[in-house]
């Protein structure tokens, strides 16, 4: 609406804008019609502006930008693909990666004396109490001199972790007073049946068949 009166005046009197001392209304034809350049502050070094109109310039610009894009993609040919071919090639995990749980035994070395080879778990159920997903089930039983499973008074007769419920938060590891349960590095935990994801004590105590590659320091 505001642009129409100056345009009408320009059509009526084409020589009007040429008069230098005529008071130019805002948006009047002549020099005032050029695109107003927004002046940035002095701390702004470079301002990206829209491309200046012009057939030759814009054609050259389109050509140049296309060539730049082609150069960029061509440079990628010689590079090594960043794909990791998963089943054959595994990403190494960090040492503190929280994977599938492991139950531990005392190491079977002479220095550990009478404890050698015994299970560390004493069946206290602190891990089950700490578990926010309620996926650990512990049933404790008394140790007897004939059947000594753990060095403590009791041992875990049943120790099950339902891995389809587990959220891998690691609270069980923190709750355990004997470091009997830790989070391992195993993360390939898919199965065909949910029942197969309930890991028993024997499965948790067993050494993994295939070790997950571990990331080295600083890698």
């Amino acid at each position: 609406m505001s642009a129409t009166p100056p345009n009408d005046r320009a059509a009526d009197a084409p020589d009007a804008p040429e008069a230098p001392d005529a008071p130019a209304p805002p948006g009047a034809p002549g020099p005032a019609l050029t695109v107003s350049e927004w002046s940035p502050g002095e701390d702004v070094i470079e301002v990206q502006r829209h491309p200046k109109p012009g057939a030759t310039r814009s054609a050259w610009r389109a050509f140049r930008e296309t060539a730049r894009g082609l150069k960029t993609t061509f440079g990628r040919i010689g590079e090594r693909p960043s794909t990791i071919q998963y089943p054959e090639e595994k990403v190494p995990v960090y040492p503190r990666f929280r994977g599938r749980h492991k139950l531990h035994r005392f190491e079977d070395i002479p220095s550990s004396g009478a404890q050698a080879g015994l299970e560390k778990c004493v069946g206290c159920s602190l891990c089950a109490a700490a578990c926010p997903a309620d996926c650990i089930r512990v049933v404790a039983a008394e140790n007897t001199p004939e059947n000594r499973v753990s060095p403590g008074e009791r041992y875990a007769a049943v120790y099950e972790i339902n891995l389809s419920r587990c959220i891998f938060c690691g609270y069980c590891e923190i709750a355990c007073p004997f470091d009997a349960i830790t989070m391992g590095h195993d993360y390939e935990l898919s199965d065909y049946d949910r029942h197969d994801l309930i890991f028993t004590k024997e499965m948790l105590l067993a050494e993994p068949l295939e070790r997950t590659p571990l990331r080295n320091e600083g890698e």
Binding site: G69, T73, E79, P81, T83
Partner: protein, 344 residues
Amino acid sequence: MSGAAHVALVGYYEPWWIQIIKAIVIFAVGLQLVPVVLIAERKLLGRFQGRYGPNRVGPYGALQPLADILKLLTKEQFRPTTSVGFLFALAPTISILTAVAAFALIPFGNTQDIFGTKVGLYGVDVSIGPLYLFAFGAVAFYGIMLGGWSSGSKYSFLGAMRGAAQLISYEVSQGLALLGVIFTAQTLSLTGIVTAQKGMWYFIPQFVGFLIFLVAGFAETNRAPFDLTEADAELVGGYNTEFGGGRFASYYFAEYLNVLVVAGIVTTVFLGGWLLPFGIHPPGWVDPFVVLFKMSLITFLFIWIRATLPRLRYDQLMSFGWKVLLPLATLNALVTAIVVVATD
């Protein structure tokens, strides 16, 4: 420009039995080249994007296109209930037929003396080469249009409409771009055009025409950045959304054969066909390999462009075709005509 000595065999026709053999050979060669282009495209696109591409089937994934084709051919011939049955079956056939027919035009070499018989290493050397090409290009448009329409699906129809508008827009520029070459060579036979490039390949004097033809070729084959007919993000699959199995395979095959045809035509018309630079004259059996090498360069360019440029918006496509390419092509033809007349 064109001396009488080397145009002597232009428009040469062999006996009928050689023509039949040649037809079979051309079809077989085209059939073998398409899977090569398929795997080359997928591998190269992978490399351009920092990944491997198919690498499971066969050594380095080389058998991937075979697996794909086998999978498609053993699938059910599905047909939507809303489709127009007869045309639905016919449309992919039209596409593949026109692609193969246009492929017959590409000269892979001069007439050779094979066992005492003169055989031209091309399907057919018609005296109306480019016209034949554009005629089949125009019929190929029916393959897309009927395919999209007879599917009875909105996406297919939209894709087909886009394809139709695009083909019509860019065919004009493509034809005009070729006019400059025809003026210069003063023949419509493609072997004649090649032999007329003995002195200098036409992509140097006809550089603008070369660029226009190439760009229009991208549009004619519905390749990126002009692949609006099958803009997957908007139209699912474009005109071939409803097609599956062997019919989809036909469309797929036709698309890549069209890429080869455009590469072959560019090679023939602008890159000197089977001629080698610096006055090298190899024996006749090398000619097809020279042509194939040049074709593979153009095909590489097709893939490279696909990996680089994003798809155009529809209005950009139209304004580029009508406001940039068409005036440029007209100007190119006009200037060439004036130069040819002035220097003749």
